[in-house]
Symmetry: D4
Subunit: 255 residues, 8 copies
């Protein structure tokens, strides 16, 4: 019942003034609700799965949340084996990506749309990179991975960049701890938008990812933005969103 | 003259072996010079103009740099009137965008390609937003601006987001100081990738942009990444890069 | 015109359905505009005037904002004399409270409702205390002021606290820089809720209000909360809101 | 025996001058002991129970403190099961609220007076919210709880706020980690004073509650103040104090 | 009128019960006042002059304070020439120690009691050292000064330390910026208690006194404590207090 | 052999020029060594025992050090039971003060000289206070202890201060975590020099002793200096040094 | 095949234009690869072994890396016994330097070239010093070690410095935690370049090596540079590089 | 007159024993004065001129210091034109290197010994680089300068590195602000020891050199150490010391 309907119903005395006011108020509240979405089908197309931050929750709480979303894809991030054991009891076909601590509940989509690259500086950065990869795959995006390319050996950097340019990667996620200079280097070589993900590798002053994050924020490369330390979900999600929207444009224009 | 041209010219004895080698080497150096981009035409299409960080340089130094790039588009950021006076003496048709402290040297392109939105929380954030806008326009991207939408008045946020969704904006730059919650809100309402630009508005604990930056890094919205405090160039540049690459895809597939 | 008025006017054919819908929509937008407050009369009773943060804005911008709100009470905080000069040209009867840098545009209400106390540790804290006082007065609250009571002389603290208890103060704002221990002491002596406002007085380690803020946050007194450093507006506003709602309750129950 | 009683007893020679002086001195010391509160009955009405910070104490020390306060209500916060085991041996009817780590010694009052709301952003914030709830309940205040309302889904925020406005809640405690934007949003929608409680949820830059706290301090909403990270006791205590004093006013004026 | 007097007066019906209670309550308040002093003559003997922190106050405010303490010794610290000009108008015989920014109001005592040494690492530390010296002299203590002894030239350190040991200095104030290692070295060589005063000399990481302060806090020398950065008043005051109390003991035992 | 002896020996050809130079050089080196002491007997009178920081050392290393100092008094601080077990094997009569983690090797002196007070804010501060007490006792100083006096209950503070003034305590060590306001209060009430020892009690912003330390550094009381967080050794050592030197003065003058 | 060869081959139609272009491009890529080395034999002479940062890697990952470098010298730093157990299974003759947590894979060179000194302030700094020593020895440099020389006893410092000057040490690594003043002292006494290595010994404000690092950075000695906290590898590596290059010069010129 | 000369003179009765002892003592004091350097000729060869930190000193103080060192080379760093004007009045032939704020008093040595390279990332880093260059030249070292090589254009980095390798540079100073990645890149390409000098270029999070410094500390390149932000003197001095000692070795072995 929209505003006009209410007005008519009231005019024709089909509803009391109290009911008319209440209905108009409810319409108002509904709109606030819609303010956050505005276009549900668009929101759907955005294709970002629900992500539950597992670390600070008890295994039971995580399991309860997972069991309450039947049919939809849901990721639990920063999860441990204990979280997974609890989830599996309630959602038997849940999967555990132990290398990055993600529990996958529901069916992963086919990688039919965009393409992103994920590059890491060292082997210690791989778990965060894998988190980004699972997130992107959960959004239907194909991932090309180049792990442990270092920062000193420049040719080890130029090789994956060249491949990603040739594959026309929609975006590149660069995962690096320590001094975090790799995203700047990749961004200077590549034509794709680069998402820098600092990791908590490193010690002493600037350790735990601080130097890496600051380095990415201080970069003068205009095609590089950053997410928080160890936030593979955020980095993979942004890259996949860029990829999906670029692919979508392609499909639209192909028609 | 590209590689094939050199090969042909050499085969037909139009150039000496010395010249051929020199041309190929120059081509090689030029390529490295173009930030290791392996495909010049792509690099060109990336269309990022040179940006000189003006603040720490003397007016004379800035003028000298501007005068040395005839014919190409160049922006001087965080520039003051004294920088501009010095530049104008050497490059008479340079322009000064005083509201955001950018000196524009060379001809701005026509806005024919992508479309981005720029939203600010308050009026104090406008100079940084304008910096982002000039950068994006320098990359050939059209900008829709919504300034001073606040964080408290939710409908003031939902209106511009709705318009940007309807215009299919390629990316949204959200500029905010103080507590910096606006980018998270916009990202939760919109389907576009959002680039958060914290500004140095605010005082006391977390002032000078610190709270705003941390807020954007701590966000749980997977479609939001951040650049450094007051870095309008970085925010506008990333948004424009996403926009140009998405538009390019469209044009390609239209053929 | 509220919802019922619109409904009646429409029912009696005094307005067209288009106008009725438009009025209701405007009502809806207005409501969202009023910070999503669901009941306008309540919002009014909240009685918080608009506050514009003056420091980062140009005098012209501030004057323009002031001129655009005829009839309503508006405060410009952290303003300088140059802001005031610009405002006075457009709003001749604007007032400047130079001791706390607030420009008052519009008519201050009569102090008929609640009562709060404002205590400062030193004379350097007075400008922030005055900012809190003006804010509270702008919300119709009476203010009892005790400035420069120190932290060492305990009897200098107990006197004002006794007076405020006897006056049944609705809330107490305690403004302190340096080590910021005064709010904790006042809170331990008083029965009123205490709002601590750290000030940027102090130097060296923990200077600029940092130690004062941390001290207030580390307090073990459960009747003490804090606002940001130098945020007299926030401290005075919170105290006045508590006062007004407590007084309102009194008036209601008196009926 | 209060002052008048002593005076009468002395006048009627029921007590020696020595005893009279001693009793008056003891009264004096007692009063100072009651945290310098000048009016014992007021102090009583304030109704804040003793709270012992359990975490840094040994179980034996905690048990000893609990056993020494027979008859009065006492809370041990941030307590573990080992603390509780030790306490139970000495105070058999002590209770353990394991979800928020509080040991309750003594009898909780009936919820007859004020009413507050407690809202959390996520499920990880619940333990701190429960701490606030137990504290408020220990002060005789009724609590309406809305947990896990998020920050992105605005309608999920507006629903509880509407209910709390309709229930005329005396104050609202908003508990949030990560970017901590929820208290600002609630404050902008509600007419009640809002106490923000940042939690140590979150990681990387601004993690462990830092971003959340700074966000609450940087807010421009004048009806919002903050307590320290994870300080549910402080947040609940302040809200309950505001509620009790507002209710008290009501009761007084009813007479 | 003490407690017994009140009791008697009441017993003999010379005063009403209201007056008796009121008198007893006043007695109570007076005691709180006395709680801070307990023994006025002792407090006097402590001999610390009032110190007003000038920097954050207006010249007029400072002058007003100075004029209100006729007869007693008062120091205004971190004062500028403008403060002094304003003070001199009201207190013509005030003196300005420009090298350390202290205004002296009233008569300095004769240096008859203790003896302290003040050592600085560099010439940049001299203003803070002079602040300490004036404070100590205002407390009647003699000061031996050794400025610019460096940290590298060890004999330049050992010479003054030897002299101070021979003079049986009661305490040594060591003023140092940069890396702040001098107090540790002096403490390891000397037998006197050492008060370290870090100064805001230095730049870059750890500059503005941070490294110096941390160095003094991290020292493993058990005869060294610190005051805040640039706090010459605090350093000189503590050293003079130790000196005066040690000398006082001497005088007492001499009798 | 001093300089003159060498000169003579050389002149009389008793030693070669090589030997003369070498002897003079050795004399020089010896002096550098002496530069650090200058007067060994004075150093002895200072009476500070050797303190070994146990925490970062292995039990075996600690035991080895303890065994190498037969006959002299030595304290191992921040030691665990494992350290003690290892020490006891080599030094059977070593003692373990488990409440403050100090291993005592050698014989504690009789408390014949000075007198200090040690006050703590809470029970959590007791281990650090005990560390200070053991250190002072190891320096032959008597200790009066007042633990858990709080910060809110002012009479609980004034009682011990009064007793310490009456006992003419040479110095007072005040140990406090959380907001750390107690040393400032004690210093304002007492006439003794006060050494503030912040403890790592507390959580959230300013936790782990940071707020307490900053509060002590920001204090405006000129008779208060600070040592690092949890540094009971430093606080007790400084207080005992002041006490011993003041007592020594007394004894000297008594002769 | 270099550029000329390709040009000739193409001119003589031995290769297609496609192949010519491809070969030239490959040449270009190879050069980028070579850009990082430029002269492989020089790189070899630099003699820095590969160092794998063990701490953040799983034992299996570390073992896999070690097994993949047969014949070359490789160090695993910050390794635990579990890492070593895993490595030994694959590389039976690997060695574990447990005192500094380094696994040595391959044969250490003979110490035939340079000479460096390593000095530590305390015994807690020894593991980091040993890390530096192993690194230097792995680069063929001889190491003279002086551990636990303290900072207070100046003659304990001058002895090792004298010996190192006499041995003409090429560089000195000084390892210190706490206040970190030792490197400055050594640098002021010695003629060798000094590398300061702060260690994470220390607690409270400036603990975990922060004060030590800042102290080394704030030093005014121009012959001292620093590496990160606990970075023995970096300190030892730099010193050994200086030593090798200085020795190499010697050998060259001897010819 | 060295030790042997004194011995001889005394033996031959040319000087009295008093004079001999006095001369030897003076020699001793002089030696200690020379920063405890045990071999004066070595100290001389170290060739580090005195450097006075000008910024925090008044022009008069600086001039006074300069005038007091006739004949020796002295640099005043971070000096302004006002410092120079004051110096010139007393030392007419003093020179001002305005581009780096250094006043040179005395005669610069001929560049006959070592060779170092100085590379900067941007033009804003040049003043700090020039400071390093003047310091090195004051130590008799030749400097090859490569300014503004950027971080993105890798060939712009590889060219100077190649030249410096070919010139067998003794050390390389790399000066960089912003993200500070250049020293790591140069170190990975070069065989020389690299001294990283972070500069205060940059803004927002990690600005003022913080990110650059942390990046250099977090580097995994073992041939790179750092000095403090903007410390050109330190960087240039360390590089020159390495160079001089390497050259010296060469000269020695040439004999």
């Amino acid at each position: 019942m929209d505003i006009r309907d209410v007005l008519e119903a009231y005019k024709q005395d089909k509803i009391s003034p109290e009911d008319a006011e209440k209905l108009l108020r409810m319409d108002y509240l509904e709109r606030i609700g819609q303010d956050c979405v505005l276009d549900r089908s668009r929101s759907m197309r955005k294709g970002i799965p629900e992500v539950v931050y597992g670390a600070p929750k008890t295994p039971d709480k995580v399991a309860e949340i997972c069991a309450s979303r039947p049919g939809s894809l849901l990721l639990v991030s920063k999860a441990g084996r204990d979280h997974f054991e609890a989830v599996r009891k309630k959602v038997p076909d849940a999967e555990f990506r132990e290398d990055c601590g993600i529990i996958v509940v529901g069916k992963m989509p086919e990688p039919v749309k965009g393409l992103i690259g994920i590059i890491t500086a060292g082997t210690s950065d791989v778990p965060v990179a894998e988190e980004a990869a699972v997130m992107a795959e959960a959004m239907g995006v194909k991932v090309m991975k180049y792990y442990d390319v270092g920062v000193a050996g420049l040719h080890r950097i130029s090789e994956p960049v060249k491949e990603l340019i040739e594959a026309d990667a929609d975006a590149i996620v660069v995962v690096a701890g320590m001094e975090g200079a790799l995203p700047t280097l990749v961004s200077s070589m590549s034509t794709s938008p680069v998402i820098g993900v600092p990791t908590s590798t490193g010690y002493g002053a600037g350790g735990k990812g601080e130097a890496a994050l600051l380095c990415m924020l201080q970069t003068c490369s205009p095609g590089l933005t950053a997410v928080n330390i160890d936030n593979g979900i955020g980095g993979g999600g942004m890259a996949a969103l860029i990829a999906n929207r670029r692919s979508e444009r392609k499909s639209q224009s192909n028609k």
